[in-house]
Symmetry: C2
Subunit: 86 residues, 2 copies
Amino acid sequence: MYVIVVYDMEADRTQLMLKLCRRYLVHVQNSVLEGEISEGDLTTLKGEIEDLLQEGESVMVYELSSDSLLNRAVYGDDPTEDSRFL
Amino acid sequence: MYVIVVYDMEADRTQLMLKLCRRYLVHVQNSVLEGEISEGDLTTLKGEIEDLLQEGESVMVYELSSDSLLNRAVYGDDPTEDSRFL
């Protein structure tokens, strides 16, 4: 399973979500992480995401079959310090 | 072709990128749009994205085969006013 996670958090809480998602995924843009994840870990991660979210915040989780991502392109600056692409 | 676009813009310029991407895609979260798009329109959109971006801003474009999105889940609040899912 390949997932893309995009979060929309209050500015002073972004680091909490980033830290959580980084336990499973790779940080590829300011509010975007992605990577291979097992079904079990994904279930755990979704639960942890729900626990962390407060009013006005949201997270989108896209699940893809592992070989279905045809292309990924980044335009402009990439401000992410650890954007080692998988 | 199905695409997911995530943008990271300066706060006072997000509306410009949203307006551009909305010509082709559906707005599903604060900084996320997605939808079916032809190869030709995607090429046009990528060019327009590049023209609009300024230093410190970035856009990620994920291209998927049309039938490969297994699941999409939204956790927390969805602040997007036109989040009619495809």
